[in-house]
Each structure stands twice: as C-alpha cells, then as structure tokens.
C-alpha cells in the first residue's frame, strides 16, 4: 500500500510546506506578468523569423542585395582575420583614446597652460636669445659712442690674439677643411 492510500499527504504537498519553496513560489507568482511578457516577445521574434523565411519575395530581395554588394569570399576571410586582430586594435584604440583624453584635459586646464607658457618663456633658448639681444643693444651703443675712433691694421692684428677671435678662426678653419674633404 502506498503512503497516499494510508491517508498521508502527497509528496508534492509536503514539499510545498517548506518555507523556501513557498518563498520561491511567491517570487515566481509575482514575476509571472514579466515572464509572460518576455515569452510573448520571444514568440513574436520567432514568428517574424518564420514568416520572413516563408516570404519568397523578401528572401529574394535579401539575396539580391548580398550578391550586389562587394561582400565576397575575400571579405569574409578578412572579417575573420580582423576578429583575430581585435585585441591588438583595442589596445591601440585605448592608447589613442588615452592620449586624446590627456590632450583634451591639458587644453581645458588653464593652470597647466599657464605653467607651460611660463616654462617656455624661462627655457634656455629664450634666455639665450634675450641675452643676445641685450648684448646687441650694448654693442650698438658702444659702436655709436666710439664712431670717431680710427681702427688701424695694428689694432686688427692685436685682435687676432683675442681668445674669442682665435676660437672663431679655428671654427672657420675646421669648416673649410670639412667642406674641402666633401
């Protein structure tokens, strides 16, 4: 004799008594409208697929479109190869994106732009050219001041002994040597 026949409750009814089962049932009942909606939309997609496949005209149109496009065996092979390269491309794109983000951030950061501009104005080249301009002014003023002074050949010979003149002449000599060798 079965336990049911002895007046016991069926096994499913016993299972239903478990609180966790009751909780799950309640949850499922509450979710039922959403589940129904999901099943309905899935059904609609399946129906659409079936009808499209059965619609001869639509299928012919699709076939024509594909045959008219430039997609061929080579394109498919390239597409497969491209998929293989996607991880490398992604890294590249990420680097470009990072650089673009950085550049954009600098461009919009007034304090950084001000800092860069002050750095540029302090750098060696700018300083050197400033010094040269200052010297040029001084030289001009001195030349104007001594405009009546007579420069003799002996003065020029004296200059020849000056270390800076000697240095310039050495450079001139080296330049001539290099030019002649070429």
């Amino acid at each position: 004799m079965t336990r049911q026949a002895e007046g016991h409750e069926p096994r499913w009814a016993e299972t239903m008594k478990h609180p966790e089962v009751q909780e799950s049932m309640t949850y499922l009942l509450r979710k039922l409208p959403e589940i129904q909606a999901a099943v309905e939309s899935l059904d609609q997609i399946v129906q659409f697929g079936q009808q499209t496949f059965q619609d001869r005209k639509s299928m012919d149109y699709l076939e024509d479109q594909i045959s008219l496009s430039s997609i061929d065996q080579e394109s498919i092979e390239a597409f497969v190869k491209l998929i293989g390269k996607i991880p490398v491309l992604l890294k590249l794109v990420e680097r470009i994106e990072e650089m673009a983000t950085f550049a954009e951030s600098v461009w919009n950061d007034r304090e950084s732009l001000a800092y860069m501009s002050s750095s540029i104005s302090q750098n060696t080249l700018t300083q050197k050219s400033k010094e040269l301009w200052e010297k040029a002014d001084h030289i001009q003023a001195l030349a104007e001041q001594n405009k009546d002074e007579h420069i003799s050949i002996f003065t020029v010979m004296k200059w020849m002994k000056d270390p800076s003149v000697q240095k310039s002449l050495r450079y001139a000599k080296a330049t001539l040597q290099v030019m002649n060798n070429k």
Binding site: M99, S105, D109, E111, Y115, S119, T124
Partner: protein, 397 residues
C-alpha cells in the same frame, strides 16, 4: 546621504584618485558607486616642492581645490576615517558615520611626524631651520638659501621610510649650486647627515651620485639621525645609529627631512602589518587577509621606494584586479615594484632613477639614465606636473 558604496577608497591623494578614475573609465556602472573619503580641502602635487624650495618653481602651481580633481561620478566624503571593521565591510568616520563597501581601497598616504624631532616644530620657518615637507614652510627654504651668506649648511635624511627617498638630497644639490651662483660657495661647508648607509640603494645610480657628491665637495655622514634642533642656539643633535653615541653640530642653515610613519588610524587597525603599513601582497596588492581589501601608495608595506611614479604603476594593478574579482576571474594584474626617482642634481641637470623590487634599473628611456641630463630636468620641471594633473589623475597615464 548614501552609506554603502561598491568601491570605497580611503584617501584622495594620487593613489585614491587614480584608482577611482581608472574604474570609472572602465565602466559607467561605477558612476555614483565609488566614494573617496578624505578630510582635505586641497590636493597637492608634492614633487614640485623640491623645485619650490630651490627657487625654481612657484608653489601655487602645486595646489588645487580638492573638488576640482575628484573624478566626475565619485562621491567625496570630506571626513576622517577613525576605524576599520573589515569583518563587517565597514569603516567609521570621526563624525560617527558608518560607511559600508563591497571593495575597500586603502591609500591614505604617509604621515609626517613633526614631533619626532625635539624642538623642530617650535623653530621651523625661522632661525635658518627649513623643510620642504609642508606647503606652508616650503617658501622659507628658498628664502634661507637665497639669503645665505656662507657658513655651515646641513641637510638631513631621517631614520624612517620617507616619501620619495631622493628628495632629501635633491634640495641639497640645488642649494649647493645656488651658493655657487650667489658667490658664497667658497665660504660654505655643505654636509649631508643621513640615516641611510649610502647615498642611494641602487648601485648604478649610487655610483653616479657619489660622483656628484665628490664634484660638489659635499661632506657626508651616513648612519646619523637628527634627534633635536635648537633653533636659537643654531645647534643640531644627531645620533650615530651604529654606536648609539650622540653629537652636536652647529649650523647656519639646516634643511630637515622629518621622520614619517603610517597614519595612526591605519596602524592601529587589523589591516596593518609590520610598521603599521597596510599588509598587502607585493604583486597583486590585495590584502593578506581580506580578499575585498586592496592597498597601495605610501601607506602600503610594499618593499619599494614610496613615490608618485610607483603609484602610477600600482593604480592600474589595483583597478584591474578589482575588476577581475567583480567578474569572477582570477587576478592577473601584477606589480613588479617599479618606482622612479628623478634626482635633481642642479638647476639644469637630473638623474632619472627607475628601478624595481630587486633594485635593478628598469629604465624607460633609450639612453643611460644614470647620467646627469638637462632634458630629464625639463621632463621633471615642465612636463611631469602637466602629466600628473591631466594624465595620472584622469586615469590615463
């Protein structure tokens, strides 16, 4: 106010902000689910302070409003954390707020212990006693160097880990050159009193720096630690770390690098390991006991030099490993101990030291970086600040 965050970050310094930015760049799902806890109102680019102290940069460029650097989509909780409860995934703030998290990133930085040297706090900023380690006093360093008329110039390195191990000597090289430019070098004795056994830990750069020390005729006393400053008397008391003996030396100017330590709220917590630093795995940066806790930056126990450059490499490791755990994948991001110290050796020269856990050079440039170079000086002075504000803090560099 929201009291639970997917990612909770302690400290809105370079480490905390970099991690937040990187996570947000990875996925917008983190938007408004990341919080940075930090009581500070301002964020500082501290590497510039060496140049500020040397008169080569303005300190104002090193300071920004905290709100201007907090990444969009991140909450800034402007409070101090006073206790961790990692068993319940919670932290408690000074204002009594309990904030819970899924993942915790601990990056509160390093704490300067001004009281660690007797008499320092009372005399700092006067009597020729200067230090580049505070925004408030960094100008006084340049004032002292600029007005120096000759005599004894002393520079110190403490017996504790410090932020950027090269910084205590950088300011000395700049000062030495400034003394030469101002025509007082011949009347000046420059001394470096360091608790370390040598000028640098990495052999290749050590050799180069010993050359700099020789050229600049700087006197060195290694294994000596500053214990007291008597500002009015212009005297400094040092301890010989090998013999335990103390000696007193007079000075006309002294640049003090103060001792530093782990923040007390971290050191007293169950997250701390030896020395009070957060106990993390040296490669994954995950906490040794709590899988959802990560640590990086100066407050971590990572056996490498504590620098911003190290953080630049640690931040992506933390961000990527958190993402892996969220996806249920194994952690693959790996930190090799990379750190970098741009050692300024003069107003137009710099040795760019880069090395790893094994103290082996790990150089980025195609030339010998142990050589003093003007180009590397300009990299530090003109480009690294821009890269910091617009690259590192944005999570892209």
């Amino acid at each position: 106010m929201k009291s639970h965050f997917r990612i909770l970050i302690i400290g809105a310094g370079s480490a905390g902000i970099s991690v937040a930015s990187r996570l947000l760049r990875h996925s917008s799902a983190f938007k408004h689910d990341i919080a940075l806890i930090d009581p500070a109102e301002h964020h500082f680019y501290q590497p510039l302070w060496t140049l500020v102290g040397g008169g080569a940069a303005k300190k104002e460029f090193s300071k920004r409003e905290m709100e201007s650097v907090i990444p969009f989509g991140t909450h800034h909780i402007q409070q101090s954390v006073i206790a961790f409860d990692p068993d319940n995934n919670q932290v408690r703030t000074e204002e009594g707020q309990i904030i819970s998290y899924d993942f915790l990133v601990v990056a509160p930085g390093i704490e300067i212990n001004w009281d660690g040297i007797k008499g320092l706090k009372e005399t700092l900023g006067k009597n020729g006693v200067c230090s580049n380690y505070s925004y408030e006093h960094v100008d006084y360093t340049w004032e002292t160097i600029r007005n120096f008329k000759g005599g004894k110039a002393v520079f110190t390195h403490p017996d504790s880990p410090v932020k950027c191990g090269g910084a205590p000597q950088k300011i000395m090289y700049l000062a030495e050159e400034a003394f030469s430019l101002h025509g007082v070098r011949n009347q000046t004795e420059v001394t470096f009193n360091s608790a370390n056994p040598g000028i640098f830990d990495v052999e290749e750069y050590k050799r180069a720096l010993e050359g700099v020390i020789d050229r600049k005729q700087i006197k060195t006393n290694f294994r000596t630690n500053l214990t007291e400053v008597r500002g009015k008397e212009k005297e400094a008391v040092f301890e010989n770390l090998d013999t335990g003996e103390t000696f007193t030396t007079s000075f006309d100017m002294i640049h003090v690098t103060p001792p530093m330590r782990a923040p007390s709220f971290l050191a007293d917590s169950s997250l701390a390991g030896d020395g009070g630093w957060i106990d993390v795995h040296k490669h994954t940066l995950q906490h040794a006991k709590y899988a959802n806790v990560f640590g990086l930056g100066d407050a971590s126990n990572l056996p490498t030099s504590k620098t911003g450059a190290a953080i630049r490499k640690q931040a992506p490791v933390v961000a990527n490993n958190i993402l892996s755990l969220l996806k249920g994948s194994p952690m693959e991001a790996f930190y090799d101990g990379y750190t970098s110290c741009p050692i300024v050796t003069g107003y137009r020269s710099l040795i760019l030291a880069e090395f790893d856990y094994f103290k082996m050079p790990k150089e980025s440039m195609p030339f010998n970086q142990a050589k003093e170079r003007q180009s590397m000086y300009h990299l530090k002075k003109d480009f690294l600040p821009i890269i910091y504000w617009n690259g590192m803090l944005k999570g892209v560099m």
